[in-house]
C-alpha cells in the first residue's frame, strides 16, 4: 500500500485526535468527590444547641465520657458545658469545672462566691466539635489521619495518627486533646458510630431538656434544618473562616 508523506501526517493527526477525544471526556475524581457526586450529597450532619434550654446538669458530658470511653476522671472531654455569669460591674465570670460533668451545684466560680444580687445575667453554653466545613485540623494533619467524611463529620484514625499535636494547635475552638490511653488526637465526632447506625448521639439522647439536637441539613423537612433555616441562629468564631456546623439559639455576645 502506498502512502504519501502528506497523507501519512494527515492520518496520524486524525488518529491522535480520535484517540484523545474519549480521554478528554474523562475527569479524574478523588474517591471522596466521586462518592459525593453519587450519594454523599444527600446527608450533611448539623448540630443545634438551644442555650435557653440548657440548665447545666452535665448529663451530656457524663454520657459522652461513658459512650466514647474517655477516662472518667481525666481532665479532658469531647464535649463540655460552660457557665457564664455576667455581673453588674460588667465583669464576665466563666467556668467549666470537670468540663461540667457533675453539673453546677454551687454559686462559686473558681473559688469566688458571687452574690446573686450582683448578677445581671447567667447562662450555660454546651460546646463540642463544630464539624467545620473548612476544618483547619484536617488541613494541617501531616499524614491524613484526620479527615472529613462525605456527610460532613471530621474523624480521627487512631491507627494512623502520629500524635504531633498540630491539629490540636490548629483548632480555634480547643475541642481537641490527646486521648490518655490511645495517645492519639481525640475529639467529638457527633458519635459517628451511633448516628450512622440510626441512633442519636449520646449527649443528644442524655439531654433531658432537648437543648441538644442533631439533623440533616440536606433534608428540608428535618425539624433541626427547619429551625436553622427559619430562625436566628449563630455559630462560634466565624471570623476564622472554618464554617462551623454547630448552630446556637440564644447565643450571647460574651460567649467565647
Amino acid at each position: 500500500m502506498s502512502c504519501s508523506r502528506r497523507e501519512f501526517l494527515k492520518n496520524t493527526m486524525a488518529g491522535a485526535v480520535a484517540a484523545a477525544m474519549p480521554a478528554c471526556s474523562v475527569i479524574l475524581l478523588a474517591p471522596g468527590e466521586a462518592k459525593a457526586m453519587t450519594d454523599g450529597s444527600k446527608l450533611r450532619w448539623a448540630f443545634l444547641v438551644d442555650t435557653e434550654k440548657c440548665v447545666g446538669c452535665g448529663l451530656c458530658v457524663d454520657a459522652c465520657k461513658t459512650e466514647n470511653e474517655i477516662p472518667y476522671d481525666a481532665p479532658v472531654s469531647r464535649t463540655w458545658v460552660e457557665r457564664y455569669v455576667i455581673t453588674k460591674d460588667g465583669e464576665t465570670h466563666i467556668d467549666s469545672p470537670k468540663a461540667g460533668r457533675d453539673g453546677f451545684t454551687t454559686g462559686e466560680i473558681r473559688g469566688e462566691e458571687i452574690d446573686p444580687e450582683d448578677i445581671d445575667k447567667a447562662f450555660f453554653v454546651p460546646k463540642l466539635c463544630n464539624q467545620c466545613d473548612n476544618p483547619p485540623c484536617v488541613q494541617v494533619c501531616p499524614v491524613g489521619a484526620t479527615y472529613q467524611t462525605d456527610d460532613g463529620v471530621v474523624l480521627v484514625d487512631r491507627k494512623w495518627c502520629i500524635g504531633c499535636g498540630y491539629c490540636v494547635m490548629a483548632c480555634p475552638y480547643g475541642v481537641r486533646f490527646f486521648h490518655p490511653i490511645h495517645k492519639t488526637a481525640e475529639k467529638c465526632n457527633f458519635c459517628y458510630h451511633r448516628i450512622t447506625d440510626g441512633k442519636q448521639a449520646a449527649c443528644v439522647q442524655a439531654c433531658p431538656f432537648e437543648a441538644r439536637k442533631m439533623g440533616n441539613l440536606r433534608d428540608p423537612e428535618d425539624p433541626v434544618t427547619k429551625v436553622i433555616s427559619n430562625e436566628r441562629v449563630q455559630v462560634l468564631k466565624d471570623e476564622y473562616g472554618t464554617k462551623p456546623h454547630v448552630f446556637y439559639l440564644g447565643l450571647d455576645e460574651k460567649v467565647r
Binding site: 481525666a74 463540655w80 504531633c164
Partner: protein
C-alpha cells in the same frame, strides 16, 4: 493521678482564670528545641556558603568547619520532633502518606533534600583528602589503621582520580551545591516558621513575617554557634600546643582567629539587625491594628512574659551582645560572652514564640503557665523536660566529635575545597 490518666500536657500546665477544659501546653520544650536546632543547621550552612559561593577567602577555615558542623547538627534537628511525637514509632508516616496541605508533611522531603546537599558538598570538598588517606594508610601497621583505611575507601565511593582537572571539577561541584544549598537551608528554616505562622487559631503565631523572622534569627544563631565552637576549639588547641610546645605555633592559630572572628561577627551583626527590625515591626503592627486578640496578647507580652520577652530576649539576648560586638577594641573573651548571649537570645525568641503562643487561652479569657519538668519521673517528663532538652543540645557535639575523626574540619588537615 493514676498511670492511665496521664493527659499529655496536664503535668506541666497551670491554668489561670477561664481556659477551655482540653487546653494544655501541648507543644513544650522539644518544640522550642526544634526550630532552635533547625536554625543552627541553616545558619551554619549559610556561613559556610559565604566562603564557598561568595569567595570570602578569610572565612575559609570557619567555612570548612561550619560545613562539617552543620552535618553534625542536621540529624539533631529531627530529634526534638521524634521526642515530641506521642506515637514515635509512626514517625515515618509523613513520608509514606504525606498530606500536602499540612506544613509538616513536607518536612521529611525538605529535610532529606537538604541532607543530600550537605552530604554531597562535604564529599566533593573532602574527596581529595579521602583518597590521600587511602594512600597514606596503605602500609601502616595495626588493625586500627586498616579499619580506618577501609572506611576511607568506602568514603571515596571508588573515585580515586585526583588529577588537577578532577579536583577542579570537585571544587566546582561543591560551589554549585553550596549555592543551591543556601535557598534550601533558608527554605528548611523559613518553613519551620511557616508551621507556626500559618496557625490561624493562634493569635500570637499567625503572621506572614514569621518565616522571615525565623530565617534571620536562624542565621544569627548558626553563625554565633559556629564562631563560638570554632573559638573554643582553636583556643583549646592553642592551649594544648603551648603546654606541649607542639609543632604548631600558638600565635599562628591566634592570628588566623582574629580575622575570621571579626569578619564573621560583621555578618552576625547584619543578620541580627534584620531579625530585630522584623520582630519590632511585627510587634508595632499588632499594637497598631489592635485586633480582637490584642487585649490578651498585650497582657501576656507586657505583663506575664515581660521578663522573658523584653529583658531576657531583647535586652540581654540582642541589645547587650550588639553593643559588646560593635564597641571598638573587641577581645576574644568579650566576643565569646557576646556569642553566648546571642545564642541565649535566639533560644529565648523560640521560647517566647512557642511557649508564649500557648500562654493564653483560645477563649482569650485565661492564661496557661508552663512549668518545665526538671527531675523526670516518667519517660514523658524526661523527653519533654530539662534533661530531654540537654540531651538534644549535647548530641551535635558528640556527633561532631565522631565525624571530625574522619572528616577533619579544623587546622591544617582540612579538606581541599
Amino acid at each position: 493521678m493514676s498511670a492511665d490518666l496521664v493527659v499529655h500536657g496536664a503535668e506541666w500546665t497551670v491554668k489561670e482564670l477561664f481556659v477551655y477544659p482540653n487546653e494544655f501546653i501541648y507543644w513544650s520544650i522539644q518544640i522550642v528545641m526544634y526550630p532552635y536546632m533547625t536554625g543552627l543547621v541553616a545558619g551554619a550552612f549559610v556561613l559556610s556558603s559565604l566562603y564557598h559561593v561568595f569567595g570570602q577567602k578569610d572565612l575559609k577555615e570557619i567555612a570548612q568547619f561550619s560545613l562539617v558542623f552543620s552535618l553534625a547538627l542536621l540529624p539533631v534537628a529531627a530529634v526534638p520532633l521524634l521526642l515530641h511525637l506521642q506515637q514515635p514509632l509512626r514517625a515515618m508516616e509523613p513520608l509514606l502518606t504525606p498530606h500536602f496541605t499540612s506544613a509538616i508533611a513536607a518536612f521529611g522531603i525538605v529535610f532529606s533534600t537538604y541532607a543530600l546537599i550537605v552530604l554531597s558538598e562535604i564529599w566533593f570538598v573532602y574527596r581529595g583528602y579521602f583518597v590521600a588517606q587511602v594512600h597514606a594508610l596503605r602500609d601502616q601497621p595495626g588493625i586500627g589503621n586498616s579499619l580506618r583505611r577501609s572506611v576511607y575507601r568506602g568514603l571515596t565511593l571508588g573515585a580515586y582520580d585526583v588529577s588537577d582537572e578532577a579536583l577542579a571539577t570537585d571544587h566546582k561541584a561543591a560551589k554549585i551545591l553550596a549555592a543551591v544549598g543556601i535557598p534550601v537551608a533558608c527554605f528548611l528554616h523559613g518553613y519551620a516558621g511557616f508551621i507556626f505562622g500559618s496557625v490561624k487559631a493562634n493569635a500570637l503565631w499567625m503572621s506572614p513575617l514569621m518565616p522571615v523572622i525565623f530565617i534571620m534569627s536562624a542565621v544569627v544563631s548558626g553563625i554565633a554557634l559556629c564562631m563560638l565552637t570554632y573559638i573554643v576549639i582553636m583556643e583549646w588547641q592553642a592551649f594544648r600546643n603551648r603546654r606541649r610546645g607542639g609543632a604548631m605555633q600558638a600565635s599562628e592559630i591566634r592570628g588566623a582567629e582574629a580575622d575570621v572572628v571579626s569578619k564573621s561577627a560583621r555578618y552576625l551583626l547584619g543578620f541580627l539587625v534584620a531579625a530585630i527590625s522584623l520582630e519590632i515591626l511585627d510587634l508595632i503592627f499588632r499594637g497598631y491594628t489592635a485586633m480582637k486578640s490584642w487585649d490578651i496578647l498585650r497582657s501576656v507580652m507586657y505583663g506575664k512574659d515581660f521578663m522573658n520577652i523584653f529583658v531576657l530576649q531583647y535586652t540581654l539576648g540582642n541589645l547587650v551582645p550588639f553593643i559588646l560586638l560593635i564597641l571598638p577594641g573587641r577581645t576574644i573573651k568579650r566576643t565569646v560572652l557576646a556569642l553566648l548571649l546571642v545564642l541565649f537570645g535566639v533560644f529565648m525568641m523560640r521560647w517566647n514564640v512557642v511557649i508564649g503562643g500557648q500562654a493564653f487561652s483560645l477563649s482569650f479569657s485565661g492564661y496557661m503557665h508552663y512549668h518545665i519538668p526538671i527531675i523526670p519521673h516518667s519517660v514523658e517528663t524526661f523527653k519533654e523536660g530539662v534533661f530531654g532538652a540537654l540531651f538534644v543540645i549535647t548530641l551535635p557535639f558528640i556527633l561532631f566529635w565522631g565525624i571530625n575523626k574522619f572528616v577533619p574540619s579544623l587546622g591544617r588537615d582540612a579538606g581541599t575545597g
